[in-house]
């Protein structure tokens, strides 16, 4: 979230899209209720079904799963056409005024400039700003016979009046002018009058440019889980920037993370393409630390008169401090701080890629710790087949699960079972109440938690399992050598108990400490060697500091673990509880909060003052920590978006930052009921990633797959393990499929009848819930139905073991088509057949 949970109570207008917070984040959702109760705020809900969130909304709009870019693009068009924009914010805090290269072409035909159909990839050099004074783009730079990867120009041309036809704003306007209310209706199925009412409602916070009110967008994986999910989120971001809602109390782009520590997992690089703190991973072309840092450290890119903090310019400090944390004393300036010991990521190793590689026999073994890969899918049958080919599988879980019992998945014959050679190890793990450490919530708060119970029986803590396996592997490397023993042998492991490191030691290591006596040149403050660092401003690239994650630097200082603070005081009343836990970065609760003030540094809305420029103190002060260079005078025109080289928010995303293009464009889900009305010849995402094994099959309407299906969670269950909890099995005992009344009538299905849902990949069987909450739609004039499937049941659980279910996981159905930016599969919006079982 750019803002935070409690900040939502400050909003005047909340749009929930691609999310169902009342269902899946009931505790966080209270803040939407607070906004309604205390500010008469309004709630707009967009969803393929009438959900629990819709039940308490002020206006509900039913949308076809996967068509949100069309809706949000339509709202962008509406905002521009109806003067729901504040020019000062847009012109100064976004790249709206930046002039774009002459050779950049908008995708009226579905393709941006530079598409290579054979490679199914873009040459992105034209997706860039125009360097100052250079109307005609220069020829591409060649070095050592290879094209130099293009960069953003450091000085750009801009039109502060936003009238130049090549400026971002005019290109944005032209791009979304195609998203008329009629086109929105064709694509999304939302009748024109409903769309207009919703667009008017949400953009009304910026009527005639008045900045007093604020709107927030609250979303979850209803936006992410599509083959262009990252662009769906981008469209909402563009809308929020356009509406001047970012950086403001009650505004922002609020992602609801779906797991209590998934934010922590992504911060600490639980994904293949980042290092902790969102540093980019090295690639084989990075021949040394210097060229790596040069590649990944951005330069400012702005009009001459403006200023840009470009905080990622400190990347070398973050990267070197990380290397010192990982490799300790072995990392020295002379050996590039063990840079060569880091794996170089040569291709995509996403979740779906791992399973694909296992299916192809390239991945021999898998650690599945607290991760039920078979149930996650997508295309679970492929994952099951993959496991059959692996040599070994280690499952760390608290209950026996489908992954560890893949060999008896329904449909596996005894003969097949006998042929399976995979050795399965089951390690009993600790449950969440048995572990201490931090959770990082959607609001970026690091919250320390204590263990409430000891682990039962033989169950071990995660850190003990990881530590002992690591130390044993390292021991084998030391004894027997191997492919690259220097890597594992150089890792620092100086914990008091190396076999089970205490998480407070690890947390302190992540915060970072001084490795030598150092002094801050400006304040003259000194840190002694071994002291916990007070913040990332102290990090250095010369090996005198270490930090496991620069973003968390400041969370465990010499004062102690700030994540353990529990002070409820909120003097401003804006829900900025400065002394409750610790949020990154540096305890700033609302990111980009400089944008909550106008160019002169005065808050847009005096009743919600977050930060402001103090002429007397000559710095930014406020109720929140300013997310900004504290002493940058407003007249210096430094951009609020300090993590961008531009310093401003990106309406236009240059170069390869987004794989599909600088402006999000509507594409159809891979399995779509229609051709793309905007450009039928380019219906799907031109750079979508998919796989080609025999189990990666896709269906179309010609084959009879003409019902749109989506998958989701229920309040009463949590993913795939609460089917072991008798209290929750009591609440929702059996799997079901939600079917519109009209579709059920057509097929002669009554509530409670067993039904079969089939995709080109597999069949799912459950009872029918016949409901009025999903209405029939007209998609591009064709009558189209949607159905929905909660994901929680599989072939191992209380009801499953009692023979009360058909034992099929919902993700038997989903396709492995991936968003090319985030590699998220398309769990929502694929085509199915439906019939009585």
């Amino acid at each position: 979230m750019t803002n935070g949970w409690i900040d939502i109570k400050n909003t005047d207008m909340a749009m929930v899209i691609g999310g169902n917070p009342a269902e899946n984040h009931p505790c966080g959702f209270k803040w939407v209720m607070e906004a309604k109760r205390n500010r008469n705020a309004k709630l707009l809900v967009i969803d393929p079904r009438f959900t629990r969130t819709a039940a308490v909304s002020d206006y509900f709009v039913q949308i076809r799963a996967g068509s949100d870019i069309a809706l949000l693009g339509g709202m962008i068009n509406y905002a521009i056409q109806n003067n729901r924009i504040n020019k000062e914010y847009v012109a100064n805090f976004t790249n709206a005024s930046y002039i774009v290269r002459e050779d950049f072409k908008l995708p009226e035909d579905g393709l941006y400039s530079g598409y290579d159909a054979t490679k199914r990839a873009y040459e992105k050099v034209s997706w860039n700003y125009q360097p100052a004074g250079q109307v005609h783009p220069a020829p591409p730079e060649i070095k050592d016979g290879k094209p130099v990867p293009p960069k953003m120009p450091e000085v750009v041309d801009h039109d502060p009046m936003l009238e130049n036809p090549r400026c971002v704003f005019q290109l944005l306007k032209k791009h979304y002018s195609r998203y008329t209310p009629e086109m929105v209706e064709r694509i999304t199925g939302i009748p024109k009058d409903q769309f207009l009412k919703a667009a008017d409602m949400f953009t009304s916070v910026r009527k005639d440019g008045d900045m007093t009110k604020v709107g927030t967008i609250i979303y979850a994986v209803g936006l992410t889980q599509h083959s262009y999910g990252a662009q769906m989120i981008r469209t909402a971001c563009v809308l929020q920037l356009l509406l001047g809602n970012i950086g403001r109390a009650g505004g922002g782009m609020n992602a609801l993370r779906g797991h209590s520590n998934i934010q922590g997992a992504t911060d600490m690089a639980g994904i293949f393409d980042i290092l902790p703190g969102y540093l980019k991973v090295p690639v084989p072309a990075d021949k040394d630390l210097k060229s790596y840092l040069e590649r990944i450290t951005p330069k400012p890119s702005k009009p001459k008169e403006w200023d840009s903090f470009n905080y990622w310019s400190n990347t070398p400090k973050f990267a070197v401090s990380l290397l010192k944390a990982v490799y300790g004393d072995a990392a020295k300036k002379e050996n590039d701080f063990c840079f060569h010991h880091l794996p170089k990521v040569d291709r995509r190793y996403s979740f779906a890629d791992i399973w694909n590689d296992m299916y192809l026999g390239k991945v021999k073994g898998l650690f599945a710790i607290g991760m039920n890969g078979v149930m996650i899918g997508p295309d679970s049958k492929k994952n099951i087949e993959a496991l059959k080919k692996a040599d070994w599988l280690v499952v760390g879980e608290i209950y026996p699960d489908e992954t560890s019992e893949f060999w008896k998945a329904p449909g596996t014959t005894t003969e097949e079972m006998q042929k399976i050679q995979t050795t399965v190890y089951r390690l009993p793990c600790a449950g969440f109440a048995e572990k201490d450490g931090t959770f990082v919530n959607s609001a970026r708060w690091l919250v320390w938690k204590n263990a409430a119970l000891p682990t039962p029986g033989d169950a071990k803590l995660d850190q003990e399992i990881v530590a002992r396996i690591f130390l044993k592997v390292r021991e084998l490397y030391a004894k027997e050598g191997g492919k690259f023993p220097e890597g594992p042998l150089s890792i620092a492991w100086a914990y008091s108990n190396p076999n089970s490191p205490s998480l407070s030691e690890v947390a302190k290591e992540i915060n970072g400490k001084a490795l030598a006596d150092i002094e801050d040149p400006k304040t003259k403050q000194q840190m002694k060697a071994g002291q916990q660092l007070p913040g990332f401003a102290w990090l250095r690239d010369d090996g005198t500091t270490m930090a496991g994650n620069w973003l968390y630097c400041g969370s465990w200082t010499e004062a102690g673990a700030l994540s353990q603070r529990r002070d409820l005081a909120d003097p401003s009343g804006l829900g900025i509880h400065q002394n409750f836990a610790w949020s990154w970065p540096m305890n700033r609760r609302v990111m980009y909060n400089r944008a909550s003030c106008n160019l002169d540094g005065k808050p847009w809305d005096p009743s919600r003052k977050q930060v402001w420029w103090s002429e007397a103190a000559q710095k930014w002060v406020g109720n929140d920590v300013p997310d900004f260079k504290p002493d940058s005078h407003p007249k210096d025109h430094m951009g609020p978006f300090i993590m961008n080289g531009e310093g401003v928010g990106r309406l236009f995303t240059p170069l390869g930052l987004m794989a599909e293009g600088p402006f999000p464009e509507h594409y159809e889900p891979f399995e779509s009921p229609i051709e793309n009305p905007l450009h039928p010849k380019v219906t799907n995402n031109p750079v979508v990633k998919k796989f080609t094994t025999p189990l990666d099959k896709f269906g179309n309407t010609g084959e009879g797959y003409n019902i749109v299906c989506t998958t989701y969670r229920l309040t009463e269950h949590y993913h795939y393990w609460t089917k072991n909890n008798p209290a929750l099995v009591q609440e929702v005992p059996e799997p079901f499929v939600e079917i519109p009344l009209e579709l059920a009538a057509e097929k002669g299905i009554k509530g409670g009848d067993r039904v079969k849902v089939t995709t080109a990949r597999a069949t799912y069987e459950a009872k029918a819930m016949v409901t009025g909450r999903i209405k029939p739609m007209q998609i591009d004039g064709k009558p189209t139905y949607q159905i929905g499937i909660p994901i929680h049941w599989g072939y191992r659980g209380i009801a499953e073991d009692e023979g009360k279910t058909a034992l099929t996981p919902a993700n038997f159905l989903s396709p492995t088509t991936l968003d090319p930016n985030a590699h998220t599969p398309e769990f929502k919006g694929f085509l199915v057949k439906l019939e009585k079982a």
Partner: protein
Amino acid sequence: MSQATLRITKISGHAGAVPGSNMSRDAKEKQVCKMVDTTTCIGCKACEIACQEWNDLPFASTSFNNTYQTMPDTAWNFWNLIRFQEYQRPNSDGSKTFMWLMRKDQCMHCADPGCLEACPADGAIVQYSNGIVDFQTDQCIGCGYCITGCPFNIPKLNPVTHKVHKCTLCADRVSGNLEPACIKACPTGCLHFGTKEDMLFQANRRVQQLKTHYGMAEAGVYDPPGVGGTSVIYVLHDATQPELYGGLPRDPRVPWTVKLWKHPLKWIGNIAIIGGVVGTFMHYLRYGPKIVPEDNAKGGH
């Protein structure tokens, strides 16, 4: 239940005065109340589980029933239940707005409780001065009359023990100055707890807000006068149609047959019985027995 801390003002099936009936200095003012704002209920069922957890109730065996509602009715081991109702609200222009109504159903803790009225067992049902109506299971004889007397169909029999159970408004927690478990668990602040006066004030204020800012002209507070008002009140989007909310009775009262049995019939019957017995005694005094002459002379029966 702790009788020391909670004054009992009514006892079922009790002859004579209730020990605590005029012992409380300000019994009326301290009436507690749970306010349920259905306009903010998201049907998350935290209250269902919290109630079971606090009261250590065994989990029920349930099955799919074409609804998100956990089970068709409350049970001896499931004291509060969210009732889900899909509803197409007709608008003035002929269109319909879809609504999914969710109402937390549990004992309403009536000021004039039908269960207590109907119960024949001395002390099986009590009402405290704070308005809470509680079952004293030790005294319950398992006749189920309370089930018939309740206009909300709340008390439920345990089939093995034949005792009835229902929501206690967490009398044990309340007596310790804690809010009921359901209120503590509610994540959205849909449930509120306080004095009846405060809760009515909050509820009416919310109704005003709904009318003024959210276009709900029929919003209102459900505090049925037919049972003397209740210690559980609802804010409804449409107070003119309480039946929409999972069958909430429009004008609940203690059933007239129960009242007839307990009051007029009781009087008439007692007078008749006593009158009858006294009457036979008086008849004997006046008229004596019938004696068959020869038998008497022969002296044998």
